[in-house]
Amino acid sequence: MIYFALLILVIISYLFYYIGKKRALNLKFNGNIKLSSQPDYFGYYVVLMALIPALLMWFGLLLFKGNFQEMFVMSPILFPDISTWSDGKLGLILNKLNNLSVIVNLPLDDLTNGEKSILNMASENELTAAKNLANFDKIYGWSNLTLFIILPIILGFLATRSISGKLNAQPIVEKIITYIIKGSSYIAILITIGIFLSLVFEAINFFRYVNPVDFFFSTGWNPNRAFVVDASEGFDKDDLENAFGFIPLLTGTLLIATVAMIVAIPLGLMSAIYLAEYASKRVRDIAKPIIEILAGIPTVVYGFFAALSLAPFIKDVGESVGLPVSAESALAAGLAMGVMIIPFVSSLSDDVIKAVPQSLRDGSYALGATRSETIKKVILPAALAGIMGSFLLAVSRAIGETMIVVMAASLRANLTFNPLEPATTITTQIVTSLIGDVEFDNPKTLVAFALGLTLFLMTLLLNILAITIVKKYREKYE
């Protein structure tokens, strides 16, 4: 239905463009009226006038569809005790009605046995409500279609009639387009605000259950303790005291990120130096894209590789020299993450190294320094700020990386600094607390937003720091 409507909308707008332009041309050549804009603009004018109100109203309908639906279906006539229902029950019933509404109007022959038994189990009121819901969907669909067809047609004809010698279409069209353009550029800000608000609101809900001091400073992480408590009965504070301790997640994240940086920084930096300063153009042209492939590989692939090959390999190696290594060691996840970050470090450092003026190198060579001495004593110090900036960006990426740790790191929190032991991360816990569960009414799911907020602020801080450092450095040579 909706795709059909969209198609019709496109056709209508093209038709109106044509009609508006035609009318303008008609006025110009047959009516001998002097137009104040190009004929095209009258076409655009009609299209914009016809579409914008319809699109805005359609968006409004979409936004409030849920509310309308509830008003229509969940009436106190059918469900007298509706005012006493909790949100959870309301959602459950609505879900049931949704399922019922799909089958309630079908002939009995077409139903499978399972569907028939669902129908039989539903009460009379529920069936009526489901029928209402099916009707509502129909009405809603038709009103959408009407909006998409009739409203634009009426508005379009009105706009077409208003075309005359006095109407100056061009400034109006340009004004509207300027607003659209301006609006688009504010969307980036809206997204940031959206991120912040959605994280903060749910995080505040979480902190209603759990004291922020407990969250940030306690060392026990057992979110399942909150799970066994029934959400509707309220929580016993003692149960939650040591359930949501952020510290082991933080140490796990930092441990894995450290392993990753130990791999990525030397390899990335040395590759960048070699490719920028030593390699011939031919080697550079081959090696650089190959290394950059590493950046294009999706992280789920690294995760698969880490869990399937790397972790067992490390375990075997460790056991062969008598070290007890966990199958979900922080080392495996960290190594895979390090490999992923190599091209990130190397391409950022490459840019910085190349930005060092040639005169500095020439000066150093003139004094008799070898190449490596020049690199170590002149280029790297000159590029230091930029390189530090790129390291910080790499750290922020390592902290926010999700799939590798979800697949290769442990789910169990473990307060340790030993990379051979299992460790869990912030992102892993966000994923495990939310998968398959979207009821935001207990701390076990809400904690994801508190963790997300913390993660967001951590990476934001690192990024701002990195950008400031890099900017300062750039000002020196430009």
Partner: protein
């Protein structure tokens, strides 16, 4: 002299470190690719067992005159069992169960699909290649060793002897696994396909493109052409740069909290997935588009303005068309990143078990990377090769997209 030698050998050492770093990084690429291709290639063939199938109307309770709907609804389980009994006569009950396990559990659907295509075969006998179960498939492919004690094998000695007998009769063969490319997910590795996930990702990418491309283009036009640098642009600019570095999982939380929680869009649909990916891709597109707008020389703008074009006409008739190749390149690269992005899909629920192929952006679906994740979490060996094959397909799409981006840049981009 001694110190010069020292310095020179230090120089050589340093250069060797560099070379080593480059070689090691390249080695990682190689080993990753090798691992994936060696585990995944098996997914493209599947083992079949040839069998005589007699479409006995008594077992499916249909006849020649049955409607297609009745054929579709009939139960083929009894027929499937009967086919096994006929092809392996004189089995006791225990042996029968073991032999039945050698064929796929979804064997009845295979019979149904055949009969739906050839309804005239009711009451007739044909020879059909029936898909083997995943465990048997793995034995035939050599992924499960045969020479370990029976207790450690999923296929027991009796089944092995039946398999050897079938092999010697020439009834076991490998066929190209079309199902992998045409079917949705399944609980059984031998019938699981990736097409549902591909379509889910496709719808998500279409939504992502239709959101991020126009808005990214217009936003960069506003920032580059229409507004003088000032406080507002600074704020937007800082915003875009920060947005580009926000971890993808946070965008997933935005989708879950805002789009699903507040606005009330449905869970696990490509519409939400596409919007979230669009939010993520937007900064990439804006940054690329701004760079390419900036590279259009001022003389073009001045020329257009000089002959009387308005600002809007200058930008839309001249500057944007000239900058479009750069913008498109950035967009495709951004979309390629979005295609590989898994974490946001996990957050908005596009990781559920979905058998049906989604028909639009509002149907429940998984995405390609989230399907890979789902399969990788499964313990069965059969899903392991599916995972690798899924990764190969994902990488193929990424290569195609990136090549397209490079080609557009080379062919269309104007150098000033």
């Amino acid at each position: 002299m001694n110190s010069l030698n020292k310095r020179l050998s230090a120089e050589k050492r340093f250069q060797a470190y560099g070379l080593f770093a480059v070689a090691l990084s390249m080695f990682f690429v190689l080993i990753l690719m090798w691992k994936i291709f060696s585990t995944g290639s098996g997914a493209f063939v599947r083992t079949t067992i040839e069998a005589n199938v007699f479409f006995n109307p008594d077992f499916i309770q249909v006849n020649q005159n049955s409607l297609e709907k009745e054929l579709y609804r009939a139960s083929y389980v009894a027929l499937a069992d009967e086919v096994v009994r006929q092809n392996h006569p004189n089995l006791n009950e225990e042996q029968f169960i073991k032999v039945r396990e050698m064929y796929t559990r979804k064997f009845d659907y295979q019979l149904r699909d055949y009969l739906l295509d050839n309804p005239d075969k009711i009451g007739q006998s044909i020879i059909m290649k029936i898909t083997a179960s995943s465990d048997l498939d793995q034995i035939v492919k050599g992924n499960y060793p045969r020479d370990v004690p029976e207790a450690q094998r999923k296929i027991n000695d009796y089944q092995l002897s039946v398999l050897d007998k079938l092999t010697s009769e020439g009834k076991v063969s490998s066929v190209f696994n079309f199902w992998f490319f045409t079917k949705g997910d399944s609980r059984d590795p031998e019938t699981a396909g990736i097409w549902g996930a591909v379509m889910g990702s496709l719808y998500a990418l279409i939504i992502c493109f239709s959101f991020a491309f126009p808005i990214g283009l217009l936003a960069s036009v506003y920032l580059e052409e229409f507004v003088k640098p000032g406080k507002v642009t600074d704020i937007i600019e800082v915003n875009i740069n920060n947005l580009a570095a926000v971890p993808s999982i946070v965008f997933g939380l935005l989708g879950l909290g805002m789009l699903i929680g507040v606005i009330g869009l449905p869970y696990q649909v490509p519409l939400v997935g596409g919007l979230v990916l669009g939010f993520m891709t937007l900064p990439t597109i804006i940054i690329a588009s701004r760079a390419s707008l900036r590279s259009v020389p001022p003389s073009i703008r001045e020329g257009a303005l000089a002959v009387g074009a308005t600002k809007m006409q200058t930008v839309f008739h001249h500057v944007i068309p000239l900058s479009l190749p750069g913008t498109l390149t950035g967009t495709i690269i951004g979309m390629a990143q979005a295609l590989g992005e898994t974490a946001p899909l996990l957050m908005i629920g596009m990781v559920a078990f979905v058998m049906e192929i989604p028909g639009g952006p509002l149907d429940p679906a998984t995405g390609l990377p989230s399907q890979i994740y789902l399969w990788s979490e499964s313990a069965e060996r059969g899903f392991l090769e599916k995972t690798s094959a899924g990764i190969m397909l994902l990488l193929l799409f990424l290569i195609i997209m990136n090549t397209a981006a490079v080609l557009i840049r080379r062919r269309l981009e104007v150098k000033w």
